[in-house]
């Protein structure tokens, strides 16, 4: 008998005539099996898992049909109290952001013990021993100290290990993992994936793994379910889905995954240097008014050069200093020392006022498309803000905005609408149009496609390439995603702890890395052995 069997599950918005968000979803998981549920945002993969856990937001969503059987028992028939008893003992869940899932004012050891106290009648000593044991199993160092730590004292990876310990301490039959590694760096992600795999083997847990990342799927799945818009599109063993997908949607999803094999750099077409960074240093903290605060050396002697019409990528994990460099270039923060030349003009030492004439030469596209547009301004007002600041008459700026919106593939009617009426991908297009309205020489894209679904990501990257072809704009592209970097950058700089450890043409750096850290990053990239767009293993 399967551990989990979902039959024809239907979930709708809890309102009269509310739309269905899950339209007859079925799924089974056997003991000891890892099943990946993949899909883009809005596909209903998280709703499926929340329905299983009985955690659908009350008053917003409700189950309207179907059955959810855990070891043959229909969870939808259980009372709230029975369901609560069921969670943790027979099924448990880990989430994307371990910081918000943990209580910030309780020591992590006590939080794990709480699970034991709620569901078992163990003595103190037994419980203590059990907690120590599970912390050891999830591979945390210095366990006694860990138990006494608060969540904020741990790293993201450590927190996720604590979450896993908490989920598995009562040896549930089913573990639901909802994007558990999405917020983590690749090297940490690799360790967590291995941990889940190892623990599963030891305990025979059935794992429902929800992710949007095909690379992760290739690493961990036994079987795969593909969802789209509330429906199950396709299911099959991992290899079958990856190498011979039957449905067009699955094929499209796989084709959108950028290949890790770097593309060849484009020939240098223009000589003029758009951006030159020399010996850039940035130190955060330091002299307070009455107190000395701890300092962080976020960028150490960074030197980079970018020619017109080309794309330079800065890759690295969180805390590597890649965003610091981008923000220094944009002069959103002031560099501690070093030079930044944009189109030959030194801008690192200029005052706010002195900088004004050069601002329009450099523009930025931000990571979060939901926060980078003022929700109270229409699209047109946002796009014309820059040109109007530089003295363009309103009417002319509006005409230009219409032109730009068309260029980025939005209908003319979009101009009068507000940001909340657009999807993430469309908003990012708007942000690009806003940046282009200034006719900049340099575009800084800070994780500009990281928040987007792969298919949308591919479209936005395509748009950037097209614009670059046409306008010979230089792009400084900050990303943590080596796949994206491999496909769109001519040169790449790898950063770690504020330093550039490797810098050169993409084909060389990502194709034949010289530095150990670059090699480690590449080795940690999930699904590196599989060439997704071509449905076959990477040719060695």
């Amino acid at each position: 008998m399967p551990v989990l069997e979902i039959e024809d599950l239907r979930v709708a918005i809890d309102r009269k005539d509310g739309n269905e968000v899950l339209r007859g979803v079925s799924l089974t998981i056997e003991a000891g099996e890892t099943v990946c549920l993949v899909g883009e945002s809005g596909s209903g993969k998280s709703v499926s898992s929340l329905a299983t856990m009985g955690l659908l937001p009350k008053g917003a969503l409700k189950v309207t049909g179907g059955r959810i059987l855990l070891d043959g028992e229909n969870l939808l028939d259980l009372s709230a109290a029975q369901l609560r008893e069921c969670r943790a003992t027979r099924m448990s869940m880990i989430f994307q952001e371990p910081m918000t899932a943990l209580n910030p004012v309780l020591k992590v050891g006590d939080q794990i013990r709480e699970v034991l106290e709620a569901h078992t009648k163990m003595s103190n000593a037994e419980a203590h021993a059990k907690v120590l044991d599970i912390l050891d199993q999830v591979g945390l160092p210095d366990i006694e100290r860990m138990m006494r730590s608060y969540p904020h004292q741990l790293s993201g990876g450590q927190r996720q290990r604590i979450m896993i310990a908490m989920a598995l301490i009562l040896e549930p039959r089913l573990l639901i993992a909802d994007e558990p590694t999405t917020a983590l760096d690749v090297t940490t992600q690799k360790q967590i994936l291995k941990l889940i795999k190892d623990l599963q083997k030891q305990h025979g847990t059935a794992v429902l793994f929800i992710t949007h990342d095909m690379g992760v799927v290739a690493e961990i799945a036994d079987r795969v379910y593909v969802m789209n818009r509330g429906e199950m599109v396709e299911t099959g063993p991992l290899m079958q889905i990856l190498s011979a997908p039957a449905e067009a949607y699955t094929r499209q999803l796989l084709s959108a995954v950028p290949s890790l094999v770097p593309r060849q750099a484009r020939p240098v077409s223009r000589r003029n240097v758009a951006l030159e960074i020399t010996d850039l240093d940035k130190i955060y903290g330091g002299g307070g008014f009455l107190s000395k605060t701890r300092t962080t050396h976020a960028a150490k002697g960074v030197s980079l050069e970018l020619k017109a019409g080309r794309t330079l990528g800065i890759v690295g994990e969180s805390g590597s200093g890649k965003s610091t460099v981008a923000r220094c270039v944009m002069r959103l923060i002031d560099p501690t020392s070093g030079g930044i030349r944009v189109g030959g003009q030194q801008i690192s030492g200029l005052s706010r006022r002195g900088l004004h004439p050069y601002r329009k030469k450099l523009q930025m596209v931000f990571q979060d498309p939901y926060r980078s547009l003022n929700p109270r301004l229409t699209i047109e007002e946002s796009v014309i803000e820059g040109p109007v600041n530089y003295g363009m008459p309103q009417a002319q700026a509006r005409a230009k905005a219409a032109e730009l919106l068309e260029l980025v593939g939005l209908p003319a009617a979009a101009a009068r609408r507000y940001p909340h009426m657009f999807s993430g991908g469309q908003r990012q297009r708007i942000a690009i149009a806003r940046a282009l309205a200034m006719e900049p020489d340099l575009l800084v894209a800070d994780e500009a496609v990281s928040a987007l679904d792969v298919s949308v990501q591919a479209q936005v990257l395509h748009l950037l390439a097209e614009i670059q072809d046409r306008t010979h704009i230089a792009i400084l592209f900050i990303t943590h995603d080596l796949r994206v970097a491999a496909q769109i950058c001519d040169e790449v700089a790898v950063m770690r702890q504020g330093e550039v450890v490797e810098y050169g043409p993409t084909a060389g750096v990502l194709g034949a890395p010289k530095h150990d850290y670059t090699r480690a990053l590449l080795a940690a990239a999930p699904g590196r052995d599989w060439d997704f767009p071509n449905f076959r293993p990477v040719a060695a």
């Binding site: 944009m330 329009k360 926060r371």
Partner: protein, 289 residues
């Protein structure tokens, strides 16, 4: 009947609004409207001159001529309470406008410019450390009692609360990427403040304004009661209560009526403020479960 009348008067479905916020705020709004109309049309409604003394008629119980009776000087209580609403509302609205405008300006500057922040906030801390009624008494005794000095005296202690609210909103809003985007588009600082930061404060300020208004009306009544407010000739709810307190055992209605008017007014404003918060910020509103 009343509902039908209301529905005709407002294009917006009153039932939908009532469903969203409950019936209490609707009643509160009606009560406030009534008080406002009474204050505006007091000269037309009032059956007697509120300050005309008539020693023959002192301390009379309610009658057809004196609806709520008369006070120790033979003045009509109903007329006095009506006129009292004028002072209370002028003070309430005036203080709110002043405190919100000044607080908004100071808060915006303090939240956006790090250099100004430390100094401004220490001044605000200092103001907040003083009991507001005591501060108001000091100001009124320095500048002399009139409706304008009372207004100023009540406004000053209210400003820091508005400043702190605005500052905290600006501090979090200035980290938003759209503000950074505006900086990189070359938008000037005053314009960023005006266009991108200030609108974020409107919803919370609306809620805060109602509390400032209620608190101002109450403080004015306290000042009048203590004899440190508007001059004793002017009928205010606080003044009426202060003059009547020696006759409380003889004629409790002299204190009850102005007291009731004051309580109803403040309760209504607070209820409206809560409703505004529910509508403007659903996260802080009532929980379903």
């Amino acid at each position: 009947m009343a509902e039908n009348l209301l529905r005709g008067a407002f294009p917006l479905s009153t039932r939908a609004l009532a469903e969203r916020v409950g019936i209490a705020p609707m009643i509160a709004a009606a009560v406030l409207l009534l008080i406002l109309l009474a204050a505006i049309f007091a000269p037309l409604i009032a059956p007697h001159d509120p300050i005309h003394q008539n020693p023959v008629m002192r301390l009379k119980p309610p009658s057809a001529e004196f609806w709520l009776g008369t006070d120790a000087y033979g003045r009509d209580l109903f007329s006095r309470v009506l006129y009292g609403a004028r002072v209370s509302l002028i003070i309430g609205i005036g203080v709110t406008v002043l405190a919100v405008t000044l607080g908004l300006a100071i808060g915006l500057v303090s939240g956006f410019f790090r250099s100004a922040d430390a100094v401004v906030m220490r001044i605000m801390d200092g103001l907040m450390a003083m009991p507001s009624v005591l501060l108001a008494i000091a100001i009124v005794s320095l500048m002399g009692a009139s409706i304008w000095t009372v207004m100023a005296a009540i406004t000053i202690p209210e400003i820091p609360r508005v400043v702190r609210l605005v500052r905290s909103i600006v501090l979090s809003a200035r980290e938003e990427p759209y503000v950074e985007a505006a900086m990189s588009l070359g938008t000037s600082m005053p314009r960023i403040l005006w266009r991108h930061l200030m609108p974020n404060t409107f919803a919370p300020l609306t809620v805060q304004a109602t509390y400032v208004c209620a608190s101002a009306i109450l403080t004015e009544a306290i000042l009048s009661f203590l004899g440190a407010g508007v001059s004793t000739e002017t009928p205010t709810w606080g003044n009426i209560m202060a003059e009547s307190r020696v006759y409380f055992r003889l004629m409790p209605s002299l204190i009850l009526w102005p007291g009731l008017a004051l309580s109803l007014c403040i309760l209504s404003i607070n209820l409206l403020g809560d409703a505004a918060r529910d509508v403007l910020d659903p996260r802080m509103g009532k929980r379903e479960d």
